[in-house]
């Protein structure tokens, strides 16, 4: 007999297990429709392999594991895939999640399965592949893919393999009845797991409130070398870390995994599923689920196909919806309220609890923490729940983290004993989520920072390159000029003349700029000269046409190009004028910087304004935008731009007109 250790804290809530143990496991049958959430496990959602309308057979792979930490899904019965879409699932948020929906045909026809074999003949990788292919994910409630947990790094030595038959949470009897009725299967599963991880010892841990299960398991384990360890009932001895301490006396370090102390832990349900998968090749398509609570007439355990709506099971158990203020998935300590009884059973649904109002009353209002310290005495993780509560409440999440917030298993023992009825666990759940959110945000911010800096760098580089090119061109021109001058000094060289002209123009421009010739005039001049050029080109084109010359095409493209240039110049002028209105010339260069500055100016102006002023401003802004859009539209019509562009512009003008009308109405409303 092994020495049973003890763990810190723990509580003894009323067990309420007898209600659902009067009858043997009952088959829940085949519902008309099965809804399989693609994510029933921890890790990446599975990837669907079938299309809507496809016929699937029982046991057929319908969604494969995505990446390493994920689990496959199989059709629980034969039928037709009718949808792959978001459906409500059992999740405290009530949000829908992607699901694969199968309409059953009632035939329950199996697909071809791998041939049955005995595990001794299989190599480890093959065994692991079978378990992985069966889509088994921790059936005790957490849903960690079993194959991931069992895929040990080569060279690791496992001391103890623990099969968890504790089931410490009140009301739930799924594992209890499984051990009573299918002890042999569980023991075979345990042997397979032992073959796989090669531990020094294999222990099945059961609480002493399940005498029938203990007897059945002892009988089944006779002569296999697997030990059945029985220990006193205390919640939450089924917690992985607590069970390890109970059976081995070793404590899993904070933030560590059971493997760090040489232990692998699996649930009895998982062991049974492993036996099924390896020996018969059957994937995980059903599980045992307890339906209990005072609001059902016949509390009992069902063998239920995954994807069955909870309402189907509840109906079989004689559910009285009127007596049941809230439906809970899981037990009273760690379960959560499900938003809708139509949600499907998944791999981790060990219990549906339909309590009456007296049985599980709404929690009384929370009162002030009186620092009694009862929570710290009850905490099985040896935390300081009261401290964590203060930190979470004061949003000092870093301090909570430093006090080992992430070691909290959310068992609810602290809330259970709290005389002030403080919903402590909710604080911890929220605090954990906030910390994770903060980590994600920090990652995203870092990513954005890198992108921003990369962009900044790129812009600078481009600017420098442009500058370099300009310098090179200038040098080349000077070089050429000098050579020309050297060659025929004195003669009237056209190149030289042109260069001189250009230089003179530039000088004039520079002088003009110095003498307050503002960019507006420059832009206007560009428009004028471009227009002149366009006219000239058009005249030439017309002449060429009338003469029937052969370079019409070239002239045409020339005209096109000049026209585009004119449009661009006009646009620039307009833009400039539009920018000019807020009296501040936009700094040239980086457009993003300019946009930021504009937004900043707008926001500064926005500050400290009454709603009336804001509405007025809004209207003005919209009108300005409308004017801009209209101008752009007129321009592109004139320039004969593509149909699509003109249409898009027209529709945006319309939209802006609507917006302006709305803003006017708002302004009127504000004024009245």
């Amino acid at each position: 007999m092994r020495k049973i250790h003890d763990f810190h804290g723990g509580i003894h809530p009323v067990e309420n297990k007898h209600q659902s143990l009067h009858t043997p496991i009952r088959d829940a049958g085949i519902p008309a429709e099965l809804t399989l959430p693609l994510s029933q496990h921890i890790g990446a959602p599975a990837t669907p392999l079938v299309a809507v309308g496809e016929r699937v057979l029982k046991g057929q792979l319908v969604a494969e594991a995505t990446g390493l930490v994920s689990a496959a899904l199989h059709a629980p019965t034969s039928g037709t895939v009718t949808a792959i879409e978001p459906r409500p699932i059992a999740h405290p948020s009530g949000l829908p999640a992607p699901c694969l929906v199968i309409a059953s045909d009632g035939e329950d026809a199996w697909c071809e399965l791998p041939p049955p074999c005995s595990f001794e003949t299989l190599e480890r990788p093959e065994l692991l592949a079978r378990i992985r292919a069966a889509g088994i994910a921790g059936m005790g409630g957490a849903g960690f893919p079993a194959a991931v947990k069992l895929g040990l790094k080569p060279g690791t030595q496992v001391e103890t393999l623990i099969i968890n038959g504790t089931e410490c949470e009140p009301y739930i009897t799924a594992d209890d009845i499984l051990m009573r009725e299918r002890a042999a299967q569980i023991v075979r599963g345990a042997q397979i797991l032992a073959h796989l991880v090669a531990p020094a010892e294999t222990v099945i841990g059961i609480e002493d409130n399940k005498p029938e299960a203990i007897a059945a398991m002892c009988a089944a384990a006779e002569g296999t070398g697997i030990e059945i360890a029985v220990f006193p009932t205390k919640y939450p001895s089924g917690g992985e870390k607590q069970l390890i301490e109970l059976l081995t006396g070793k404590q899993v370090p904070s933030g560590g995994l059971p493997m760090d102390v040489g232990v692998v832990c699996q649930n009895v349900g998982t062991a049974a599923a492993v036996a099924d998968a390896v020996e018969h090749g059957r994937p995980l398509i059903s599980r045992i689920t307890t339906v209990t609570g005072a609001a059902v007439d016949e509390p009992q355990n069902f063998e239920v196909l995954l994807g069955t709506p909870m309402s189907h099971l509840l109906a079989l158990a004689g559910y009285r919806a009127a007596d049941n203020p809230r439906l809970v998935m899981g037990g009273p300590m760690m379960g959560f309220t499900v938003p809708d009884p139509g949600v499907p059973i998944v791999k981790t649904t060990n219990c549906i609890l339909a309590p009456s109002a007296q049985e599980l009353p709404a929690p009384p209002p929370a009162q002030a923490c009186i620092r009694c310290g009862l929570c710290a005495e009850a905490c099985p993780a040896s935390l300081l729940p009261q401290q964590l509560y203060w930190f979470a409440r004061g949003r000092e999440f870093e301090k909570a983290e430093a006090h080992n917030l992430f070691d909290c298993i959310e068992c609810g023992a602290c809330s259970y004993v709290c005389p002030s009825n403080i919903p402590l666990v909710q604080y911890y759940r929220a605090a954990k989520a906030e910390v994770l959110q903060m980590r994600r945000d920090a990652q995203k911010a870092e990513h954005s920072r890198q992108r921003f800096e990369a962009r900044q760098e790129r812009l600078e580089r481009e600017e420098a390159e442009k500058e370099a090119r300009r310098a090179a061109r200038k040098q080349a021109a000077e070089e050429k000029a000098r050579r020309a001058a050297d060659a025929g000094s004195g003669e009237a060289d056209p190149v030289q003349a042109a260069i001189e002209r250009a230089q003179a123009r530039k000088a004039a421009q520079a002088a003009g700029a110095a003498s307050e010739e503002n960019p507006l005039q420059k832009l206007e001049k560009t428009v004028v000269t471009t227009r002149e050029r366009l006219e000239k080109a058009e005249a030439k084109l017309a002449q060429a046409r009338s003469e029937g010359a052969d370079h019409i095409a070239a002239l045409e493209t020339g005209v096109e190009k000049t026209r585009a240039k004119l449009a661009a110049a006009e646009q620039a002028l307009q833009d400039y004028q539009a920018q000019q209105t807020p009296a501040e010339p936009a700094p040239a260069g980086d457009a993003a910087q300019a946009a930021i500055q504009k937004a900043m100016a707008a926001r500064a102006a926005q500050a400290n304004k009454s709603p009336l002023e804001k509405a007025r401003d809004n209207l003005e802004k919209l009108e300005a935008r409308l004017a801009k859009s209209e101008a752009r539209l007129a321009e592109s019509r004139a320039a004969g731009e593509e149909e699509k562009i003109v249409e898009a512009l027209a529709s945006s003008v319309e939209r802006l007109q609507e917006k302006v009308a709305a803003a006017r109405a708002e302004l009127a409303a504000e004024e009245s």
Partner: protein, 201 residues
Amino acid sequence: MIELLVQHPLLAALLALVGLGAVFGALLGYAAVRFRTEGNPIVEQINAILPQTQCGQCGHPGCRPYAEAIAAGEDINKCPPGGQAGIEALAQLLDREVVPLDDEHGEEKVPQVAFIREDECIGCTKCIQACPVDAILGAAKHMHTVIASECTGCDLCVEPCPVDCIDMIPQAQTLQTWHWELPDTSNRGADIIATDAGEAA
């Protein structure tokens, strides 16, 4: 030489000290070059707290300039995307007082993502030029689109679009982003006795 030093112990001491000074000075100088910290570390730390939305609402052209301004003594409550949590983090880092967000610069909003209505886009590339994190993909006269995972929701691309085809969409809550909220302690005072709960609630 030795004799001279022996005869003038004061000189010997002086020389020894000068020698030591020179050696350690060289060592320190080398260390200063070899292990130099890049930039201004406090600015880096502040910048690490700012949300990097690069939206300019703080009145600076980007997060880093604001970080520099904070390091130079500017108020810490001007960044709406960072929100109250950001202010708290800054206050803790800089040992300043926690102040409420200055609403002159905007309010804390749910995170948003830009979305281009693609069939209306005319391909003018204006939005690309405005985006501070290169989150928009497209080419002249071709449809543009926002890479949602890279978008910081800064809003800067909306205004430049001539056909007004960019929407800022508040990010919907998904199963991945949903989480438990802290219990609401505001409306139910912590000191109601249980029998009064019905009336108070």
